[in-house]
């Protein structure tokens, strides 16, 4: 055990600090929240990637660097310290596509996802299927290519496509996305978990309609509704086999729950640092408690990423981490109110946004159900 940086880690941290400082404090002034952040997130992603500071632990083949997982925590810590935005939280999509997609799909889509040149969204939730995701009703129906006869050289099924109909909701960043990792029902006649398949669907085609939402803090670029009405997806863009959509969804939501994957500890670290620098005189106890919590999360991410060196498999433990992360964000939200009251629009916005953390990625109630039944085995 040694929490200190190894020489290689220290060298990486130094390089990162230099880069963050060299951006002339630009990294610090880069918007880290609100509409401005979401609008410029792609730019930030590409800058980070271009400088060699993103996709650290992912395979080289797809543009990663195959560094040990703990480099991600160094990244989070330094971004928070510099007041820069968090790293883009893509880990769960990379894991989902990486684990379930064919070699062909991985080669085609992972590099653009990792380097930030292509934007993605996740189309799982529906108006009638939130916590109970398996009840979703969006359909993808196989049709053979409807080109005119003789149009295509061969008719070996290569131009088979699925046609998508349905209504997705709460889809984050759908307005800027090029691609959607979509979960749809391909077989209505089997038990509901088994009739689902996953697809990589282009968001830039007829039959895809966007309806943005305004969140309660006023931002309009976080999530929206997406209506699929006859959108098409080539059959070879199915991820995994037909009926394996649920397995992919579970991989994704498992990783989506982990602060180590999401890099959010940087966001809370930055908020708490901002709040500390704004307080004059004695520190409100809400803020000190938020500081203690952010330290806990930082150290927790260090422990979790260290454990990955042993190849610890992912299971329901992600739900524990999601709860911890949620408490940290919501404590920091309360600290923002304690420091800024309701008159500071940024701090009010941070507070209001913090309420979403116990809903997105599976609600806190659902995380507790998972912990109670799958880890504590309490029955029910």
């Amino acid at each position: 055990m040694d929490y200190r940086d190894s020489p290689a880690e220290a060298e990486f941290r130094d390089r990162l600090r230099t880069w963050l400082a060299w951006r002339g404090g630009r990294a610090g002034s880069f918007p880290a929240s609100g509409d401005d952040y979401w609008r410029r997130q792609g730019e930030w992603h590409q800058a980070l990637y271009g400088a060699g500071f993103f996709g650290l632990s992912w395979p080289r083949e797809y543009g990663g660097q195959e560094l040990p997982p703990v480099y991600d925590v160094i990244l989070d810590e330094e971004l928070a310290r510099a007041g820069a935005p968090p790293r883009p939280s893509l880990g769960y999509l990379v894991q989902g596509l990486g684990r379930h997609g064919s070699a062909e799909l991985r080669r085609r889509f992972l590099p653009g996802m990792i380097d930030g040149t292509q934007r993605w969204c996740q189309g799982f939730s529906e108006p009638g299927a939130g916590s109970d995701l398996a009840s979703l009703t969006t359909t993808a129906t196989l049709v053979q290519g409807d080109r005119a006869p003789g149009d295509s050289a061969d008719d070996d099924g290569n131009d088979a496509e699925y046609v998508v109909h349905g209504h997705k909701i709460w889809t984050s960043y759908s307005d800027v996305a090029d691609w959607c990792l979509l979960l749809a029902r391909t077989d209505p006649d089997v038990p509901r978990h088994r009739g689902l398949s996953a697809f990589v669907v282009s968001m830039r085609q007829p039959g895809v309609e966007q309806r943005p939402f305004r969140m309660m803090n006023g931002i309009t670029t976080e999530f929206g509704q997406v209506l699929f009405d006859g959108a098409r997806v080539p059959a070879d863009q199915m991820v995994g086999a037909a009926g394996e959509g649920w397995a992919l969804a579970m991989t994704i939501v498992g990783h989506e729950r982990e602060p180590a994957e999401l890099g959010y500890s940087a966001r809370y670290g930055k908020l708490v640092r901002d709040l500390v620098s704004r307080t004059k005189g004695s520190t409100p106890t809400e803020l000190t408690w938020a500081y203690v919590q952010t330290e806990m999360l930082r150290l927790h991410v260090r422990r979790r990423l260290s454990e990955r060196l042993d190849g610890v498999a992912h299971g329901p433990e992600g739900s524990l981490d999601k709860l911890l992360m949620t408490w940290v964000e919501q404590t920091a939200g309360h600290a923002a109110l304690a420091v800024g009251g309701t008159r500071d629009p940024d701090l009010l916005s941070a507070y209001l946004y913090s309420r979403a953390q116990s809903v997105m990625g599976g609600t806190s109630q659902i995380q507790k159900n998972i912990i109670a039944s799958r880890i504590l085995r309490l029955g029910g």
Binding site: D2, V292, H300, R303, L378
Partner: protein
């Protein structure tokens, strides 16, 4: 950067857990079983773990044993002698243990000889009459003179010692919380009402799920603090330990209170072990207490 325990550390933890499981009190009635306590005392003395610090073990090892001993409600002295050992390095050959005094009270006072720290000096004294306290597994006592100077304590050593004391009392709370959590989960799996086990009700299950998350968070802060005792400069080590103490204290109190609640009526009786864990947490929170106002949120 590596936050994992070594193989030896895991083995030490498992050995401490086994000892506590075999000879710690399994019920409130066991607390009065003098034969058991004598066997436990002999076993703990034989391990030499009270001298871990004077033998040069790190804060991490001491914290692991403290955590497992609290989880098993070990009711013979450990924290006192191990902290005394830090003040008397090289004293391992001395078979009779020492304990320490904190704010003029001897802790773990089933031991006669006491070390006190005052104004950079280490003083020897003796334990006197027992004092009232919450803890049913450890006693405190008055400190009686004559006080004799036994050595000097450098500022650096005093800082490290404080960090160690904060880390091991945090470990003690974490261990007790884990014990209380396990007790409550066991009960929730078997107690049935309305034809179903109570653990199947979300109103019971969710606080227990929260308890497990709090335990994981506590493990993460505590491990860093225990490592920092020896690896960081004393002011930083103390800071890490204060954070651990504040976090673990809040978490442990919540978990123990949940354990009482999940047990219903029986949880409010003397016979249920839930209050024994709760009392131990209260006592360890009060030993070297840390308030939020002492935490420095400084921007490094």
């Amino acid at each position: 950067m590596d936050a994992r325990l070594s193989t030896e550390q895991r083995e030490l933890r498992d050995a401490a857990a086994r000892l506590a499981g075999d000879l710690g009190p399994g019920s409130v009635r066991d607390l009065a079983d003098a034969d058991r306590i004598a066997r436990l005392e002999k076993a703990v003395a034989a391990t030499g773990w009270r001298a871990l610090r004077s033998d040069g073990a790190s804060g991490v090892e001491v914290a692991l044993v403290a955590e497992e001993f609290a989880r098993g409600l070990v009711d013979v002295p450990f924290l006192g002698p191990v902290l005394a050992g830090d003040l008397r390095p090289g004293d391992a050959g001395d078979a009779q243990p020492w304990t320490i005094s904190v704010r003029s009270e001897a802790i773990d006072a089933r031991i006669q000889r006491v070390l006190a720290v005052r104004d950079g000096q280490i003083l020897t004294a003796r334990t006197g009459a027992e004092l009232p306290g919450a803890d049913l597994t450890r006693v405190s006592a008055e400190v009686i003179g004559p006080l004799e100077v036994a050595g000097q304590l450098s500022g650096e050593h005093a800082g490290r010692w404080l960090a160690l004391a904060l880390a091991v009392t945090s470990a003690d709370m974490l261990g007790a919380a884990r014990g209380a959590q396990a007790l409550a989960c066991d009960y929730a799996r078997i107690r049935a009402q309305y034809g179903k086990t109570i653990g199947s009700y979300q109103a019971v299950a969710h606080p227990l799920a929260e308890g497990l998350a709090l335990i994981e968070g506590s493990v993460s802060v505590l491990r860093h603090a225990a490592w920092a005792v020896d690896a960081l400069a004393p002011p930083e080590a103390v800071r890490a330990a204060q954070i651990a103490k504040v976090y673990c204290a809040r978490a442990a109190l919540t978990i123990c209170e949940t354990s009482v609640q999940v047990h219903g009526g029986i949880g409010n009786t003397w016979e249920c072990l839930a209050h024994v864990y709760l009392r131990r947490v209260l006592a360890s929170a009060e030993l070297f207490p840390v308030g939020l106002e002492e935490i420095d949120c400084g921007l490094s």
